[in-house]
Each structure stands twice: as structure tokens, then as C-alpha cells.
């Protein structure tokens, strides 16, 4: 059954399978395993980024397209749902309508960018997407009347998803399911389904053509594959998935703004996650997103502990001071890219083959 859910594309490494199972189980039960808001926020962010990074992998890892417009689509999804909830009131109808509008606008945009520019060389395409994404970010902050400008918009979600709505609460066994928990499972289940859909796509005949194009577009064309058509469809699919991730994010954080959805910093994060995890595997998206977000959220704490523990030693506590966390994050990334050029998933699979 697992084999069929994953479209026959198994992890092919015992360590990887174990890691994936652990991530899956922890994410599936986060609301009941941990207390406080940070763990569940982190878990939701991991779910959202798994979808976002997987959709980027569809472009970069599977089709060989370098795009810097991925956060733009993430933003379109977020703004679509967010502004609809803000403007038309916190109902399911406005959320759904906002999402549909976002999907239509975003897909048309992805289609046009793809058709106009996917026939040019890869580097030009990267430049064009960079320009379009920057223009879009500027537009979003300029149209502050509608978008809330730099401040973004906070909005309310449908009543069922609010913390105040308690579905059931059994204090004796500590089981409490409120709107927050429900929101989390909305995010979790959506992420799971989207990831499985992505597995389905990359393991379809269509998905193999994308890989063929990545490997050798000239030969793919000579076999009769219309490369521009395939690239454009891949672009639209990846954009669609990124928009859904944006919608999930909006529902979860109940806020949409340029910094959380459109910023170039997020684009860089996505790139790092996909490279660290391992391009062209989808599993890499899961591993990369999970590790990166855990590091982002917990490295500082970990360093605080380490700094305390080594306070008797010279210099080391200073190096391990929580304020230096970004430095260490950078070092970790350089090391991981240096030692695992094919990402963590690539490395784990190599180890299996090596034996």
C-alpha cells in the first residue's frame, strides 16, 4: 500500500526510510506529543515548506529549470486566501473563492512566463523570473490600499479553525482538540496529499519526460517531445503547488505580508533546502525542509545550552553564543554541500549502493 501511495518510488535506503517514518510520525502527532505553541508552529511550517520545496524540486531537480519566482507563487496563494478572508469576511466561501482566483491568476502568469521565456537559455530564464518576482513584490507593497503594503494583512479564519472552537476536550487523558489542532491537521493532511500527488507526477510518463529534458533537452526534442510545452506545464504545476502551500500558510499564520511570503530570503531558504536534501528525489524536499526549519528554530537554543556548558573554557563559549547562530548555520550548510554534493538523500542512497 505504501508502495502504491508513493507511486513505486521507494526511499531505497534503510536510514532514509527510518528518517522519513520518524518525520511522518512526529508530524502526525505533534499536537498530542508536545505542549506549547512553538512545536506545533514549527511542525506546521515544516509541512508547508515540504510542499513548497517539493514543488520547487519539480522544477529544479526534475526538469532542470532554474526559477527565482517560486516565492511569488507562494505569495499569490497566501495573498489570494488572506485578502479574500480579510475583505469578504472569515467564511469558507471567501477562502475557497480567494484560492480559486489565486490559482487562476497564478497559473496564467506561470503559463505566460513559461511560454515567453522557457525557450531561451536557462540563465536568461532565471533572470526573467528574478525580474518578474521583484516587480511583483514591489507591486504588492505599492498597492497598500488592497494588500496592506509592507505591513501585510492580519485576518480571521473561519470560526471552526479558531482556537476558541473546541471540538472535544477530555482533560483526564489530556486530549483537547480545538480549532488550532484542526487547522494543523488541515495543513498536515493537505501537505501529505500534495506530496503524494507530486510523487505520482514525477513517476508518470510525463515525469520521465521532464527528467529526459533535464538530462538532454536537445535529444528529448529530437525524439519528438515538444520541450517548451513540457517545461511550461511543469512550470504551471510547480506554481500551482506553491500557491497551495501559500494558502496553507495563510490559514495557519492568519496573516499575509511581503516578508513572510514574497521575500527573496525565502527563495534562498527554498534553494538551500532542496540542495541540502538532495535535488530530483522529492525525499530531499522532506529531509531538507525538516532539517532546515529545525535548525532555524532550535539551533539558537541548542547553542545557548552548549555555551553554558562550556562556560569554563576560553573562547569556545563566545563562539557558541546564541547570537552567532547564523554563522553556524552557514558553516553547517557549506559543510553539507561540500560533503554531500547530491544532498543527504543522494548520500544515503550512495551508501546503500556502495555496500
Amino acid at each position: 500500500m505504501i508502495q502504491s501511495a508513493l507511486s513505486g518510488d521507494l526511499p531505497r535506503s534503510r536510514v532514509l526510510s527510518f528518517l522519513l517514518a520518524a518525520i511522518f510520525l512526529v508530524l502526525a502527532f505533534t499536537p498530542f506529543l508536545f505542549s506549547g505553541s512553538q512545536p506545533i508552529n514549527t511542525a506546521a511550517k515544516i509541512c508547508i515548506f515540504i510542499v513548497l520545496v517539493a514543488s520547487y524540486d519539480l522544477l529544479l531537480g526534475y526538469t532542470g529549470i532554474v526559477s527565482f519566482a517560486h516565492t511569488m507563487f507562494f505569495g499569490i496563494g497566501g495573498y489570494g486566501v488572506g485578502l479574500a478572508l480579510y475583505g469578504w469576511g472569515p467564511t469558507w466561501t471567501s477562502a475557497g473563492l480567494g484560492l480559486v482566483i489565486a490559482l487562476v491568476v497564478g497559473t496564467v502568469l506561470a503559463f505566460v512566463i513559461g511560454l515567453l521565456s522557457l525557450r531561451v537559455r536557462a540563465i536568461f530564464y532565471a533572470m526573467i523570473t528574478l525580474a518578474v518576482a521583484s516587480a511583483f513584490a514591489i507591486l504588492a507593497s505599492q498597492l497598500s490600499e488592497y494588500t496592506g503594503g509592507e505591513d501585510g494583512r492580519s485576518f480571521r479564519v473561519p470560526p471552526l479553525l479558531r482556537p476558541g472552537s473546541v471540538l472535544f476536550d477530555i482533560p483526564a487523558i489530556g486530549l483537547r482538540v480545538d480549532g488550532r489542532v484542526l487547522s494543523y491537521y488541515l495543513v498536515f493532511v493537505s501537505a501529505l496529499l500534495l506530496l503524494l500527488a507530486a510523487f505520482r507526477i514525477v513517476n508518470s510518463p510525463f515525469g520521465r519526460v521532464l527528467q529526459a529534458i533535464r538530462e538532454n533537452d536537445f535529444r528529448a526534442e529530437s525524439l519528438g517531445y515538444n520541450v517548451v510545452y513540457y517545461r511550461t506545464v511543469a512550470n504551471c504545476l510547480a506554481a500551482g503547488m506553491a500557491m497551495l502551500a501559500g494558502a496553507m500558510s495563510a490559514i495557519w499564520v492568519r496573516y499575509t505580508g511581503p516578508d513572510t511570503t514574497l521575500s527573496f530570503a525565502i527563495m534562498l531558504d527554498i534553494l538551500l533546502m532542496v540542495v541540502i536534501g538532495g535535488m530530483g528525489t522529492l525525499y530531499g524536499a522532506v529531509i531538507g525542509a525538516t532539517l532546515f526549519i529545525l535548525a532555524q528554530n532550535y539551533l539558537q537554543k541548542l547553542m545557548g545550552v552548549a555555551s553554558e556548558a562550556t562556560s569554563a573554557l576560553p573562547l569556545i563559549p563566545h563562539l557558541l553564543h546564541p547570537d552567532r547562530w547564523l554563522l553556524w548555520l552557514g558553516v553547517l550548510f557549506i559543510l553539507s554541500v561540500y560533503f554531500f554534493p547530491n544532498g543527504i538523500v543522494g548520500k544515503l542512497r550512495e551508501m546503500v549502493r556502495g555496500r
Binding site: 508518470s204 510518463p205 529530437s222
Partner: protein
């Protein structure tokens, strides 16, 4: 004679001022194997590229089955039945040998747009791919990455990709170049079988004159981008222009089957 399957009229391409293919008019018919010979740099590969669409012509036209395909992309021409095996091996390096061939089978099957069906459930394609792997004797390497193959096997896979397209025009560009002596017959037998089928249009660029003699119904000679001789093998090889311009002063070596270039 029947209508040609593939025909070029005044076909020309210039790179800067240099005409790599210069006003070549030639027609190819079903059921015939035409060898295209000429020294290195004569424009043979470029002529192929113009016919199969990898390069756009500066002037002139290409007709396929009576249709003008001069402005069509390589993909469109492939769909209309032009198959191409490249001189410089052109594979999907990180995919397996079997996947390489299946991509060609799938291109022929035209069901490639299927987004939701599973690639490993198309049993029919798997069987077809296996058939073409066996034709070039690569069935034992089906699971290795194309990039990991030795040179001779890459050349065979290159040919298998074209075979799996099941085109009606086959364009072989030095298919046996760099192959070891014992590998060459696999490819030559394959070409012989294609020829025996009787309805294919086969174009072959080949340097080994003994191979050309044994396979070709006709020889076309290119020199400096121009068509300088065209006719049945014995006549062309004996013609003064070929002796002078192409075979030069090596009739002895040529009869031993040495590469002429």
C-alpha cells in the same frame, strides 16, 4: 519513380560567411539505403541536422512525404517519422539504459502527456523497450546508467533510441565510429534487417568503404558542403571527381576498407 519520401531543394546553411551545406538538392526514396560520404568537415552531419530539424536552413527547403517541413521543429519532424542517431552520442546520461529506450518508445506511443498513470505500469512499453534493447544486445545492461556505459555500448544505445522511435526515415551518422571490431556487426546486421524490410528510407554516413559497398544502393558525395557526385556505388567510386576530390590517392587503402577521411 515513385514520389520521394525525403527531398531537399537548394538546401543551404551559412555559419557566418561559410556555407557548411551549399545548395544541396537530393531526393531519397523508400526501400533504399543511401550512403553519404565525404571528408571530415564536408557537411554531412550538418546536412543531416538540416533535414531532421536540429538546425534551421538559411535557404532552400526540406520536404517529407510531400509536405514542406522546412520550418518545423525537430520534434515535429520526429513525430512525422524522421529518426536520427547522432554522430556524437546524445543520451540521457543519468537515466538507465532501459529508461533511455523507453523514452523513445513512449515518444512513439504519443501517450506521453499522461500525468497520472504510473510509468512502471505501462507493461506494453516495457516490452517494446526490451525488444529494442535485445536488438542491439544491451539487455544485460538495462539497469546501468547510460553515462556509465563503455563507448561501444553508448553507440549501440544511440542507435537503439532511433530504432525505438520506429520512424520511416532512418538517419545513421557514423553509427560504428569508435566501436571495437566485434561490436560493429551488431549494428551492421541491424541496418541490414532494416533494409530487408524494404519500405524504410535509410541514410547512412559512413567512412568505412567496405561497409558502404556492402550496404549502399547509392552513394552521395559531399565536398565543401556541395553535392559533387550521386549515383550507384560502383560508378560513384570509379568517377574521376571522387577519385580526385575524396578518395584521393588511396585506392589501395580504400580496397582494404581503411577509413577515408
Amino acid at each position: 519513380m515513385s514520389r520521394p519520401v525525403l527531398e531537399t531543394q537548394g538546401l543551404t546553411i551559412r555559419f557566418g560567411g561559410h556555407a557548411a551545406v551549399d545548395n544541396v538538392s537530393c531526393a531519397f526514396h523508400a526501400g533504399s539505403l543511401t550512403a553519404i560520404v565525404g571528408p571530415n568537415g564536408a557537411g554531412k552531419t550538418t546536412y543531416f541536422n538540416l533535414m531532421s530539424g536540429q538546425l534551421p536552413a538559411t535557404s532552400g527547403s526540406v520536404q517529407l512525404d510531400g509536405e514542406d517541413v522546412t520550418r518545423l521543429s525537430a520534434a515535429e519532424r520526429a513525430k512525422r517519422g524522421i529518426g536520427r542517431a547522432f554522430q556524437i552520442t546524445n543520451l540521457f546520461p543519468n537515466l538507465t539504459v532501459a529508461e533511455n529506450v523507453r523514452l523513445a518508445v513512449q515518444a512513439k506511443a504519443r501517450a506521453a502527456a499522461s500525468l497520472w498513470s504510473r510509468w512502471d505500469h505501462h507493461v506494453e512499453w516495457i516490452k517494446r523497450a526490451e525488444h529494442f534493447l535485445e536488438e542491439v544486445n544491451l539487455q544485460d545492461k538495462r539497469a546501468s546508467a547510460a553515462a556509465a556505459l563503455p563507448h561501444g555500448d553508448k553507440r549501440k544505445l544511440e542507435v537503439a533510441l532511433m530504432m525505438a522511435l520506429e520512424p520511416h526515415v532512418y538517419m545513421f551518422d557514423e553509427p560504428t565510429a569508435g566501436m571495437s571490431v566485434d561490436e560493429v556487426p551488431v549494428v551492421l546486421d541491424l541496418i541490414k534487417r532494416l533494409k530487408a524490410a524494404g519500405d524504410k528510407t535509410i541514410l547512412l554516413v559512413e567512412h568505412k568503404m567496405d561497409v558502404v559497398r556492402s550496404l549502399a544502393d547509392r552513394i552521395v558525395v559531399l565536398h565543401n558542403g556541395q553535392l559533387v557526385a550521386d549515383g550507384d556505388p560502383e560508378t560513384v567510386i570509379a568517377s574521376p571527381i571522387v577519385q580526385e576530390a575524396y578518395l584521393g590517392s588511396m585506392p589501395a587503402a580504400e580496397s582494404k576498407g581503411a577509413a577515408v577521411s
